[in-house]
Amino acid sequence: MDTRTELREFIVDNFMMGTDPNELSDSGSLLDLGIIDSTGVLELVGFLEEKYSIKVEDSDLVPENLDSIDNLTKYIQGKKS
């Protein structure tokens, strides 16, 4: 499974229990759409660190890295490379 699909699956299973997964595009803002809230960010970071064996630095906690499936995919690819 590619990173994009894995990320989408995690977000759908953990944050979109009460919504139709088709409503989320890869570029949709997870914060603005109310999919991820404050505690959600912590769950997401925990998942990224464990799944991809990376360390999410405090300075990485910005919407440009975390706020959409597109941004997350880019961020993970950047970290792994």
Binding site: G34, T39, L42
Partner: protein, 668 residues
């Protein structure tokens, strides 16, 4: 605590349905298992289940005035009844008992509805006036004791709990979707609405009068905050007055002919009330506490510390996940509404502990947070307003971090966490509910789980307006802390803390809670205390800490406030969790109820199960509890209601029976 129930004929007089009243009283017998009584004539039936606390021998109900023209059925306490009695005796009222019940009857005779202004207490009652054929129902100022009513088939029915109304089998049992929408916004419905269609709640501080087939409701009191505060007065002077009022409030609340115990949470408020009993009365104090196996919720260290400090005889129950899950269906049966936390469940177990030790009355610290500015939501409001004035400020939101010094996060993470949550609605600074926006946003996530049909049904309904509608005209001229406090008192305090966590969990085991902080003199005094002395910097309940400095150890007054909570979804997703959880959340059961989307609920349950020992977000916990409690509500009140346990004829004392049937029997 007692239970009241009855009905009133809106049309022509009809012989009374005595079996119905035995069923109505039977359905709420847990509230008052000591005695059962009734009054009947062809217009009105009054029933009563008694918990004997004052005048054990003479206080039976229903009870009348001297000439038998006024009859009362009453639940509660009028703490200043001795003073009122003296005044009434001076006006030539003759008393037959030592009870506070009789004081209400004579006070009503003397002052009419204005008698309510003179009562210091917690009460719900109905008075039938056989001379003019009217019925008068009233509730205390802050909504400590409950009262529900409905109109059906030419009759007006009332009762302490909704189940008393459902004792009449022809009354419709149906969920009110707007009631769910309000609950999943504010944690409560806005009275008179309840979770059930057509069933109404008499709002706090209101009375209702029925005459000539018509009825209307009036409010007799409200929390009124000033537009400006007395800024000359010192903090010490405010604290001194608060201390005096608290001592008197506690003294009045120890008036009982049975022993009085105290809840001890380990926090400031119950430590304060217990300490005042110890220092200012001769009462020997026994204290009762909840401890948790899950350390994240446990405060037993502080409870023990306080008990040792005051030398009380201490009792404790220790709750596990399984304990909470096992009693949860009973909790919902008593609460009669969906709830978003399990916090009432340990209180249900605690009242059983109190009862097992043969106590009927406990003093507790409820109401202090609402009146004196204790909740985080108030501090958050101050910070969010400060932030909203300069939304691009980099350092203003950092204040939020100071709210949660115990949060195990690095500064940057905490900041991200708090900012995303609290920046919600920052631009809505002038809206009436600005203080509550973050909470409302989180709570409203439950509604994502509604089926498409339910969502469509509610498209045009705005649950925010339910509370906006009843705001006093001056509301917008008040300080923003006062606005937040007012909303909190009207929503969370009356509709959740005092009902689902208060009256209902105590009454389930016939235990009466008494709340020194909710003496109306303290509530009124607290409105006049400047916001600066409620939250000083970010130090909550500043004036109370100052008032209690002499009687409490610094470990308690300086402690970081820990909100009372219990393990939520964790309690229901363990290997040994009770079977009903799977049944209530099964596709079959969800389809039958028709309120929630089974697929979405399954995903939520999967997530909660995966994280069965981790701490889930408020959002997921509330969604889980909202769905489960609603399913249990529908199951126990609509789909599979239990048989009513009717009161045995021999135990049912009919104090008066002036009905056609009685007249005929007499002739025959």
């Amino acid at each position: 605590m007692c239970g009241i129930a009855g009905y009133f004929e809106l049309g022509s007089p009809t012989p009374p349905d005595k079996d119905l009243v035995r069923r109505m009283v039977g359905s709420i017998r847990h509230r008052g298992p000591d005695e059962f009584g009734a009054f009947f004539d062809n217009r009105c039936a009054l029933g009563h289940a008694r918990l004997s606390i004052i005048d054990l021998a003479g206080g039976s109900q229903p009870l009348s005035n001297e000439d038998g023209s006024l009859w009362i059925t009453y639940n509660g306490e009028i703490y200043n009844y001795l003073e009122l009695r003296k005044e009434l005796e001076a006006s030539h009222h003759y008393f037959r008992t030592r009870s506070d019940t009789e004081v209400i009857v004579h006070a009503f005779e003397e002052w009419g509805a204005k008698c309510l202004d003179r009562f210091n207490g917690q009460f719900a009652f109905a008075i039938y006036d056989s001379r003019d054929g009217s019925l008068f129902l009233a509730r205390d100022r802050l909504g400590i004791r409950p009262l529900f009513y409905t109109q059906h088939g030419g009759r007006f029915y009332f009762g302490s709990e909704i189940k008393a109304l459902f004792a009449e089998p022809s009354i419709l049992r149906q969920i009110d979707l707007k009631g769910l929408d309000e609950t999943f916004t504010w944690w409560t419905t806005a009275p008179p609405r309840t979770a059930f269609m057509g069933i109404n709640e008499l709002p706090a501080a209101s009375y209702l009068k029925i005459q000539n087939g018509k009825y209307n409701t009036k409010s007799y009191w409200d929390l009124e905050y000033p537009e400006t505060y007395n800024r000359q007065r010192s903090a010490a002077s405010w604290a001194e007055e608060l201390h005096e009022l608290l001592v008197d409030s506690v003294r009045l609340r120890l008036r009982a002919d049975v022993p009085v115990g105290a809840y001890l949470s380990g926090g400031l408020d119950s430590s304060a009330t217990t300490s005042l009993i110890r220092h200012f009365t001769d009462t020997r104090v026994e204290t009762f506490s909840i401890a948790f196996h899950d350390k994240a919720y446990d405060e037993s260290k502080y409870q023990q510390q306080m008990s040792d400090y005051l030398g009380t005889r201490h009792h404790q129950i220790k709750c596990s996940y399984r304990d909470i899950a096992e009693v949860f269906p009973a909790v919902i049966r008593h609460a009669e509404r969906p709830i978003l936390r399990t916090a009432p469940a340990p209180l249900y177990l605690l009242s059983k502990l109190v009862r097992d030790h043969e106590f009927k009355v406990v003093l507790t610290g409820e109401g202090s947070d609402e009146m004196l500015g204790g909740y985080d939501i108030f501090k958050e409001t101050l910070i969010r307003r400060f932030w909203a004035r300069n939304p691009d400020s980099a350092w203003r939101p950092l204040l939020l971090k100071r709210l949660y010094p115990t949060l195990p996060l690095s500064a940057a993470r905490a900041r991200f966490y708090l900012e995303t949550f609290y920046k919600a609605g920052l631009e809505q600074i002038d809206e009436f509910h600005f203080s509550h926006i973050p909470r409302i946003n989180t709570t409203s996530k439950v509604k994502d789980y509604f089926t498409k049909d339910v969502q469509a049904e509610l498209t045009d309904y705005d649950p925010l307006k339910a509370f906006k509608r009843d705001l006093p005209n001056q509301f917008y001229s008040w300080h923003h802390l006062a606005r937040a406090q007012y909303l909190e008192a009207k929503s969370l305090l009356a509709g959740y803390i005092l009902s689902s966590q208060g009256d209902r969990m105590g009454s389930a085991h016939a235990v009466e809670g008494r709340f020194p902080f909710l003496d109306h003199r303290i509530a009124e005094f607290a409105t006049t205390v400047p916001p600066l002395y409620k939250i000083h910097g970010l130090n909550e309940k500043f004036v109370l800490k100052k008032a209690m400095a002499r009687e409490l150890p610094p470990e308690i007054t300086k402690r970081v406030k820990q909100p009372y909570m219990a393990p939520d979804s964790n309690s229901f997703v363990q290997e040994d969790s009770p079977q009903y959880v799977s049944e209530m959340l099964s596709e079959e059961s969800l389809v039958k109820t028709g309120l929630f989307n089974p697929l979405f609920v399954q995903k939520l349950r999967d997530k909660c199960s995966r994280l069965s020992h981790a701490h889930l977000s408020f959002k997921d916990n509330m969604s889980f509890l909202g769905v489960l409690s609603t399913q249990l509500l529908v199951d126990q009140f609509i789909n599979n209601p239990p048989e009513v346990n009717i009161i045995d004829r021999k135990k049912f004392k009919v104090w008066h029976d002036q009905s056609i049937e009685a007249a005929e029997q007499h002739r025959g």
